[in-house]
């Protein structure tokens, strides 16, 4: 039986419009968003904007400091550090985004099912989640990638598996909090099946914390991909990657500090932008934290 729209849950789309109006008032969040969009854009356009081929070796130009010719210097093979940085961004951000998608697809349904149905299903899923969460995330990712083989697809798979339990547990908690709400009971009374209740009522109402958590997953995935590549388990040479390039720069710390500074700075800038954006999103999606002109003027900070 179709459930009339009138008693449907508070609309997520409506709250998005309200949140979108709030977001620009968070100055740091806007800066984060702009930086992140710029980083993503430049990385996506790397084939067009990178001044040199990132893997072409030119030994005559090795370990050259930053100059007009090479803005960020060259590495031990004479490759342009800036070009490698831009191409490396494609890998890091691409992996980050895919991990976000993978963690969402894996973690959110598990959390919704666990929270809505409860009982044995909940117990089983949560014990698995508990066990996965007792592994240190990076070590679990290293073990998975190391055993499956160092390959970028395996990196994404491993990072998704590492991040999904965190998301599942959070979604379960939020689902538990809203599952007894009036609109859910009303939907149930009108004969809506579990699928409909979970998808069009519960998911919509637990979406805000999920969105915020996904920004955290994104930042964690960028750092984790760099860590794995740094340890030699992610992107394989000669392909550019921030973590891989830092690992190579390790051997030339004294002679060519620009080699490690560029990727370290890039990762930091990227994570900073994502964190700022996440903070802004959290405030924008939480009506209690909405900024009115008065609170902004009073400079309230907690």
């Amino acid at each position: 039986m179709a459930v009339p729209n009138r008693i449907s849950s508070p609309r997520f789309a409506g709250s998005i419009v309200l949140a979108a109006r709030q977001f620009p008032r968070h100055r740091a969040a806007m800066i984060g968003l702009v930086c992140l969009v710029l980083i993503c854009l430049i990385s996506a356009l790397a084939p067009y904007v990178a001044p040199y081929d990132p893997i072409q070796i030119k030994l005559s130009a090795k370990l050259k400091p930053p100059s007009f010719e090479h803005w960020m210097g060259t590495d031990h093979f004479g490759r342009d550090v800036l070009s490698r940085l831009l191409w490396g961004g494609r890998t890091s951000l691409g992996v980050g985004l895919l991990v976000v998608g993978f963690a969402f697809v894996l973690g959110v349904p598990l959390g919704l099912i666990s929270g809505y149905f409860g009982g044995k299903v909940d117990n089983l899923i949560m014990r698995l989640v508990d066990a996965l969460l007792t592994f240190p995330p990076l070590l679990l990712a290293v073990a998975l990638v190391g055993l499956l083989g160092p390959d970028i697809q395996n990196v994404m798979l491993a990072l998704g598996i590492v991040q999904a339990p965190v998301l599942a547990r959070m979604v379960r908690g939020s689902t538990l909090a809203v599952r007894e709400d009036l609109y859910v009971m009303a939907a149930r009374a009108l004969g809506a099946g579990p699928g409909r209740i979970v998808l069009s009522h519960l998911l919509r109402n637990v979406m805000s914390p999920i969105v915020v958590q996904l920004t955290i997953v994104f930042a964690a995935a960028v750092v984790a991909e760099a860590s794995l590549s740094f340890l030699g388990f992610g992107t394989q040479p000669p392909n550019p990657s921030w973590g891989r390039d830092m690992s190579e720069a390790r051997r030339f710390l004294g002679d060519a500090p620009w080699m490690f500074m560029a990727p370290t700075g890039a990762i930091m800038l990227c994570v900073l932008s994502i964190n700022f954006m996440g903070d802004g999103l959290r405030d924008a999606l939480d009506p209690r934290a909405w900024r009115t002109r008065r609170t902004v003027a009073a400079g309230e900070r907690r």
């Binding site: 240190p136 190391g146 860590s227």
Partner: protein
């Protein structure tokens, strides 16, 4: 509370069994044969078969797991396929090194975060508060291996103040306290910065909460000295969530060291797992992950217990 503690402790073996089962399945379901890696490609089938039999790798999977877990229950984690040593003696070598590094990182985190968090809360919206916010924001964003490279460049290469190797070496330990501490400094700062940021932020907001309580006004009205108010009334209460967080984060420390161990050639748990993964040394992977998980679980239980001990309002 003792009932709650008992219930939590009973759950530990159950979680560990799930963990061990998962590790076992992951190692067996993925490609790579430890015997072939150990003996090389040009080995006689008989030698390979003998080695497989020695490590029970020729048995069906449920039997392999059953034999292993039965031994684990008696405290025997098996023998390393690669290193001709028992997993327990490897652990005895590696665990103390990792524990020392984790302790050093935690000491750094506490030494920085307690004063910074308290002052930032007392002087809200002052330059020192902004400095604290800046520090935490950067601390959250910089990856520990990137920070390690920056610190090596500055303190080891440019200033030549601190060594980059020497953790776990008996000579450094024998040459006196300072030369024992020195090699820990850069790795501990690199490893502990994220925790420092987390703890500073937590202590700042928890101090701000406490400072706005009624009993603070009462303490001031009684005419107590400002120092007494801050330390005895505010900090003591603000420390409750802080200490729990310290315990939880300490549980994580052993497992997140792997990149730092890799850079500084520290003979710790993380690098052992890394080598074991590369060589498909199943007993080492299984034994070490079990110990790391158990350490994490106990740190969490300790955190929950501390919470109840410190805050009389909490009763389990």
């Amino acid at each position: 509370m003792w009932y709650y503690l008992g219930r939590r402790l009973i759950q530990v073996p159950l979680v560990l069994i799930v963990v061990s089962l998962m590790t076992f399945l992951i190692t067996r379901a993925t490609p790579g044969d430890p015997v072939q890696i150990m003996l090389g490609m040009q080995t006689s089938p008989e030698a390979a078969a003998a080695m497989r039999a020695e490590f029970n790798l020729d048995r069906p999977l449920p039997v392999q797991y059953g034999l292993w877990i039965a031994k684990v229950a008696t405290g025997d984690l098996g023998r390393s396929i690669r290193l001709n040593d028992t997993v327990t003696s490897l652990l005895a070598e590696r665990f103390p090194v990792s524990l020392q590094l984790a302790l050093a990182a935690m000491v750094f985190a506490l030494v920085v975060s307690i004063p910074l968090g308290v002052i930032a809360a007392l002087r809200r919206n002052s330059w020192i508060d902004y400095l604290c916010t800046g520090y935490t924001v950067v601390g959250f964003a910089v990856p520990n291996f990137g920070l390690a490279l920056v610190l090596i460049y500055v303190f080891s290469i440019k200033l030549d103040w601190l060594p980059i190797t020497g953790i776990g070496s008996s000579e450094a330990a024998a040459a006196g306290f300072w030369s024992y501490i020195k090699p820990f400094m850069i790795p501990a700062i690199a490893l502990g910065t994220l925790q420092t940021a987390m703890l500073t932020r937590l202590l700042r907001s928890s101090m701000i909460d406490v400072l706005s309580q009624d009993y603070m006004r009462t303490a001031r009205a009684k005419g107590l000295l400002p120092g007494t108010i801050v330390v005895v009334h505010a900090l003591k209460n603000a420390m409750i969530p802080f200490i729990t967080m310290v315990a939880v984060q300490f549980g994580y420390m052993i497992g997140i060291q792997v990149t730092i161990e890799y850079i500084f050639a520290v003979p710790g748990m993380g690098s052992a797992v890394l080598n074991a993964v590369v060589n498909r040394d199943f007993p080492v992977i299984q034994g070490f992950t079990l110990v790391i998980s158990a350490f994490f679980l106990f740190a969490n239980i300790t955190a929950d217990m501390l919470y109840a001990l410190l805050d009389p309002r909490i009763r389990y």
